[in-house]
C-alpha cells in the first residue's frame, strides 16, 4: 500500500473510521483532556471556514508560533485543507530571525500561542507586508488589544459560521480537490552556515517516508506519543502530524515546557523521537540525582551501571551473556534500571529514537544498558525527516541503520552520503540556486554528511563532510565525534573542537551550569556568578580531568592537548548554536578566532571581547580574560589503546 492522499484527506478518513478514539490529549488544569478524531476534524473544519472567510486561498501560507498546542495543529491542518501551506516557526526565535522567515515565506496568517508571541509579531508588523491576520490561542492579557487584524482562535471560527452557511460543503470540497503533490509544509532549516532556507515539502513527501517508517517499525494506532519538541523542527511535523494522522495513534501535549519530565512519567509514552541534546540532558539529570543520593544508593547505582555496561559489551560483541551476569542484570532491573526508566518516563516505551545529529556512543550505550530501546535514525529536512532506521537486532552506536523501503543510498565523491527518496523536497522556496546545488543531476540529495556503508550494509555517518578535518601532519579527525565524547561528561555542556591544518587538537568548552554548580557546592567552592565559576582554577582542573578521560579513548594523534573554559554558554540568540542545538562551527571559529590563535600560539591567557545578545535582541559587549590550559603530554596509557579499538570510526 502506498498512500495517495493528502493530510486533510486522511484526517477526514480518521474522523469517520475512528471518530471516538482520542487523537490528542492536552494536559489542562491538571487533567489530560482528550480530543477525538471527530473533534480534531470539526475544529479544523471550523477554523478552515474562518480562514476562508478572511480570504485565505489555495497556496497561501499560514505560520504557527508557540509551544505544542492542539489549536496550533488545527490551524496547520485547516490551512492545508484549503490547499494552503503550513509554516511552523521557532517560538524562541528572536525578532530579526522571525521577521526574516515570516517575510520570506510571505505568510498571510500567523497563529500565535499567547500574548508573548502576539507581542513579538505585532512588533514586526510593519516589516511584514503579506501579513493580514494574526490569531491567538490563549486570550489572556489580550482583551485590550485593539488591532483590527488581531483575532482570537474562537472568533475566527465564528467568522467562518456565516461563510459556511453561505457555502455549504466548502471545506469538504477543498479537501477532496487536494492532491498529494501539492505543497503542505515549509520547514525552515536552522541553517548551521547561513540564513534559514525554506524547505518545500508536499503531502506525498511527508506521508511516504512516514509510511515506510511506520511499516519498518510496526508503529500502530495504539501508540502514545508526547509532543514537546519545537513545532518548527521537521521531526515534529513528521511524527506529530504525518505519522500521527497516517497511523492514527494518540498525540499528547504537555502542560508547559517545565512539566515535560513529569508529564512523560505520568503518560508513559510508547514511542518517542528526540535530538541528541535531549538524551544528553536526560543522562545529565540522572547523573546529578545519582551524585546527590545517599552513599548506599550511589554505590548500588554505580555497581549496577557497571553490570549493565558489561552486558552491553557482550551483546555488542555478539557473545552469550554468562549466567551470573544475567542474574545480576535481573536484580538490577528491579533495583535500578526499572525505577530509572520509570523516572525518565520510558517505562512503557516500546522504542525511542534519536536523530537530527549524531549522539555520542557513551550516551547511547547508557540508555540501552538501562533497558531503554533507543535507536538511531538518520535523515534531513530536505528528505522530510527520515531515510534510515536501525533494525532491532542490529542496534549499535556507530551506525544509523538501514535505508527505509523505497529509498536508496550511495556514497558520492569525497565520501558524501547521497540519498534518493520519495521524501526528497520540492526545492528551497525562492532559492533555485541553492536547490540546484543540493541535488545531483539524476535527483539524489547531497546530504552534506560524510559516511560509508559498512560490511553489514548499514549506513555509518562520520561527520558533516566539510567538517572532517586533517591535522597539519595529515591525520584526519572528526570534530563532532570527539565533541560527543566530551559531552558524555556531565560537567561539559558544549564543546567545539579545532585542529584543521593545526599541529594538534584543541577545544573550547562551555560547562554545564547545573552540574558544575552542584559540584562546586559539594566542594565548598564559593563563587559569585556563572562567569566567576567558569573562571575558577578548580573548574579548569575538573574539566581537564574530564578531557583526560576522553583522551584515553582517542587515538594518540587526535588527543586534545589544550583547552579553554568559556565564560558563557553557547546561545542560539548569539548565533553560536542553532535552535535545534547544533553548533555553528564556522561561526564559533570566527567569533573566537582570538582564543583559537592564542591556544595554538602557546599563550596561557587570552583577552576576549564577546558580543552577547539579550532576549529582546539588544546587544552588549563583555570583556573578559580566559585562561588556556594544557593537557599534560600523554604518558603511555595501557588502557587507552584498548578502549580506542572499540571506536572504529574514530580515525575516520
Amino acid at each position: 500500500m502506498t498512500v495517495s492522499s493528502t493530510l486533510p484527506q486522511l484526517l477526514r478518513r480518521n474522523a469517520e473510521t475512528m471518530s471516538r478514539r482520542p487523537a490528542m490529549r492536552e494536559k489542562d488544569l491538571g487533567i489530560w483532556q482528550p480530543y477525538s478524531w471527530q473533534r480534531y476534524w470539526e475544529e479544523v473544519r471550523a477554523f478552515a471556514l474562518g480562514l476562508a472567510a478572511h480570504g485565505f486561498k489555495r497556496g497561501d501560507k499560514l505560520s504557527v508560533i508557540g509551544e505544542n498546542r492542539p489549536r496550533l495543529y488545527f490551524a496547520q491542518l485547516a490551512a492545508q485543507s484549503l490547499g494552503g501551506i503550513a509554516v511552523p516557526v521557532y517560538q524562541d526565535a528572536i525578532a530579526s530571525e522571525l521577521a526574516y522567515v515570516l517575510d520570506h515565506a510571505e505568510t498571510s496568517v500567523v497563529v500565535a500561542e499567547d500574548q508573548e508571541q502576539v507581542d513579538k509579531i505585532l512588533s514586526l508588523h510593519e516589516r511584514l507586508p503579506h501579513l493580514k491576520l494574526v490569531v491567538y490561542d490563549d486570550p489572556r492579557g489580550l482583551s485590550h488589544y485593539s488591532q483590527p487584524f488581531l483575532k482570537s482562535f474562537v472568533a475566527v471560527q465564528e467568522d467562518g459560521q456565516g461563510f459556511g452557511a453561505a457555502n455549504p460543503g466548502y471545506v469538504e470540497e477543498a479537501v477532496a480537490a487536494g492532491t498529494p503533490d501539492e505543497l503542505a509544509l515549509f520547514s525552515y532549516t536552522s541553517g548551521t552556515t547561513s540564513r534559514p532556507k525554506g524547505v518545500m515539502l508536499s503531502h506525498a513527501n511527508l506521508l511516504l517516508p512516514a509510511e515506510a517508517f511506520a511499516a519498518a517499525e510496526a508503529i500502530g494506532p495504539r501508540e502514545e506519543h508526547l509532543a514537546y519538541l519545537p513545532m518548527a523542527w521537521i521531526g515534529t511535523s513528521l511524527v506529530s502530524i504525518a505519522l500521527h494522522i497516517l497511523v492514527g495513534f494518540t498525540c499528547n501535549f504537555p502542560e508547559k515546557p517545565e512539566t515535560v519530565e513529569r508529564d512523560l512519567r505520568e503518560l508513559g509514552p510508547t514511542i518517542g523521537l528526540a535530538p541528541p541534546r535531549f538524551w544528553e540532558n536526560s543522562l545529565t539529570a540522572v547523573m546529578v540525582r545519582a551524585a546527590d543520593a545517599s552513599f548506599v544508593k550511589r554505590k548500588i547505582f554505580d555497581y549496577f551501571r557497571g553490570v549493565a555496561e558489561r552486558v552491553q559489551q557482550h551483546v555488542g560483541e555478539r557473545r552469550p551473556v554468562p549466567l551470573g551476569l544475567r542474574l545480576m542484570r535481573a536484580l538490577g532491573e528491579i533495583l535500578v534500571y526499572g525505577p530509572i526508566r520509570d523516572q525518565l518516563g520510558w517505562r512503557r516505551a516500546r522504542v525511542v529514537y534519536t536523530g537530527g545529529a549524531p549522539l555520542g556512543a557513551e550516551v547511547f550505550r547508557f540508555f540501552r544498558a538501562f533497558g531503554v530501546n533507543l535507536k538511531q535514525v538518520y535523515g534531513a529536512t530536505e528528505l522530510s525527516g527520515l531515510c534510515s532506521v536501525q533494525h532491532d537486532a542490529e542496534v549499535d552506536p556507530d551506525t544509523v541503520g538501514r535505508i527505509l523501503a523505497g529509498m536508496e543510498v550511495q556514497i558520492g565523491e569525497g565520501g558524501e552520503v547521497l540519498v534518493r527518496s520519495p521524501g526528497i523536497f520540492q526545492g528551497y522556496y525562492k532559492q533555485d540556486e541553492a536547490t540546484r546545488e543540493a541535488l545531483t543531476a539524476d535527483g539524489w540529495l547531497r546530504t552534506g554528511d560524510a559516511g560509508f556503508i559498512d560490511k553489514r550494509g548499514q549506513l555509518v555517518i562520520i561527520d558533516r563532510a566539510r567538517d572532517v578535518g586533517k591535522l597539519a601532519d595529515g591525520t584526519s579527525f572528526a570534530p563532532q565525534f570527539i565533541e560527543n565524547k566530551l559531552k558524555f561528561s556531565p560537567y561539559i555542556g558544549e564543546a567545539v573542537v579545532f585542529g584543521a591544518a593545526r599541529p594538534f587538537v584543541a577545544v573550547i568548552v562551555a560547562i554545564d551550569p547545573t552540574t558544575v554548580g552542584k559540584w562546586a557546592e559539594r566542594q565548598r567552592l564559593a563563587y559569585t556568578s556563572f562567569q566567576d565559576l567558569c573562571g575558577r582554577a578548580e573548574v579548569r582542573e575538573l574539566i581537564g580531568e574530564e578531557i583526560r578521560r576522553c583522551n584515553a579513548a582517542l587515538p594518540q594523534p587526535t588527543q586534545i592537548r589544550r583547552f579553554v573554559v568559556l565564560n558563557k554558554e553557547f546561545d542560539a540568540d548569539d548565533d553560536e548554536i542553532t535552535r535545534t542545538r547544533k553548533i555553528r562551527r564556522r561561526f564559533v571559529a570566527d567569533k573566537y578566532a582570538a582564543v583559537i590563535d592564542a591556544m595554538y600560539g602557546g599563550a596561557s591567557e587570552v583577552e576576549l571581547a564577546t558580543e552577547i545578545t539579550y532576549e529582546d535582541g539588544r546587544k552588549a559587549t563583555l570583556h573578559s580574560r580566559l585562561a588556556i590550559s594544557d593537557i599534560d603530554a600523554p604518558a603511555a596509557r595501557l588502557k587507552a589503546s584498548a578502549a580506542a579499538t572499540a571506536e572504529p570510526a574514530a580515525a575516520g
Binding site: G30, I31, G141, S143, H144, K256
Partner: protein, 266 residues
C-alpha cells in the same frame, strides 16, 4: 485597566498610635472599583499599618473604613476576608510544610460551605464542593504558571516563586480587593516584571481592585492608576503617577530633606 467609576473602599481619616508613636495620622484614601492603587513612602511611613487596618489586623484609634457600603472599621480579619478583601504579606505567609496546591486549597477554605456535620451527613455534596474548589485552584495554578510546582512543598521553592504562590493563595479567595504588601520585595528584575504582568492580568481578567505597597518606583509608576504617598504617618501627596512624580513634597520625602537641610547621618 478595568473601568474605575464608583468608590469601592473608602478609608476616612484613620489614625493609629502605638504608645507614643503615630504610625498613621488622619489618612484618607478612596479606592475606585477596578483600580490599581499604590501606596508609597519611605520606611516607617505607615504603609503596612494602613494595610493592616484595612484587613482588620489593627483597629484604628479614630476614623472609619467602609467597603461596599459595609462599615468594616472594627470587623474581624476573617469577616473582612469573607467580604472579599484578600492580602499577601511582606514576609511571606505560607504553610511551608504543605504543597503549593494545598496552600491554594487552604485559601479557598473561607469559601467552603459544607461543615463537619453536613459532610458526614451527606458526603456527596461535600465532595462536589471539593471538586469545584479544586477546579478553581487549578485555574489559578494555570494562571500563575505554577503547573510544574503543584506537588512541591513551598519550603523548597525559591523566594520569587513563594511570592507567586502567596498571590495564588490570596486569589483563591476570589477577592474583590487584593492587598499586596511589597509583592516584589527581594526579587530580581525578571521576577519583578513577571509579577507586574500577573498583577495587571489579575486586574484585567477579573476586574479585581488592587492596593499595592511597593518600593520599586519604576514598577509603581508603570502599573498604577493612582498613587498615594505617605511620610511619617501622613499623606503628603496623591494623584496619577505623573502628578506624584512632579510633586516637590514627594521629592523632599524621598531625597531625605531639602537642599538646605543638613545631610542625614545614615
Amino acid at each position: 485597566m478595568a473601568e474605575a467609576t464608583d468608590v469601592q473602599l473608602d478609608v476616612n481619616a484613620v489614625s493609629k498610635r502605638f504608645g507614643g508613636v503615630r504610625a498613621v495620622e488622619n489618612v484618607s484614601i478612596a479606592v475606585k472599583r477596578g483600580a490599581i492603587a499604590s501606596i508609597i513612602g519611605p520606611n516607617g511611613a505607615g504603609k503596612t499599618s494602613l494595610l493592616n487596618m484595612i484587613s482588620g489586623f489593627y483597629k484604628p484609634d479614630s476614623g472609619s473604613i467602609r467597603f461596599e457600603g459595609h462599615d468594616i472599621t472594627r470587623a474581624r480579619p476573617s469577616d473582612i476576608a469573607a467580604l472579599g478583601i484578600a492580602r499577601t504579606f511582606q514576609n511571606i505567609a505560607l504553610f511551608s510544610g504543605m504543597t503549593v496546591l494545598d496552600n491554594i486549597m487552604l485559601g479557598r477554605h473561607v469559601r467552603m460551605k459544607a461543615g463537619v456535620l453536613s459532610s458526614i451527613a451527606y458526603w456527596g455534596l461535600a465532595q462536589k464542593e471539593e471538586v469545584a474548589h479544586r477546579a478553581r485552584a487549578e485555574e489559578l495554578i494555570d494562571f500563575l504558571g505554577l503547573q510544574d510546582l503543584r506537588r512541591q512543598q513551598t519550603a523548597s521553592l525559591a523566594y520569587g516563586l513563594r511570592k507567586r504562590v502567596e498571590l495564588a493563595r490570596a486569589l483563591a479567595l476570589d477577592p474583590k480587593v487584593l492587598l499586596l504588601d511589597e509583592p516584589m520585595g527581594g526579587m530580581n528584575q525578571e521576577e519583578k516584571e513577571d509579577m507586574a504582568r500577573y498583577i495587571l492580568d489579575v486586574n484585567e481578567q477579573w476586574g479585581t481592585t488592587v492596593i499595592l505597597i511597593e518600593h520599586d518606583m519604576a514598577v509603581v509608576m508603570d502599573i498604577s492608576d493612582r498613587v498615594t504617598v505617605l511620610d511619617r504617618g501622613r499623606k503628603i501627596a496623591e494623584g496619577t503617577p505623573s502628578e506624584v512624580q512632579r510633586n516637590p513634597e514627594v521629592m523632599r520625602a524621598y531625597l531625605g530633606g531639602d537642599a538646605d537641610a543638613p545631610g542625614e547621618a545614615a
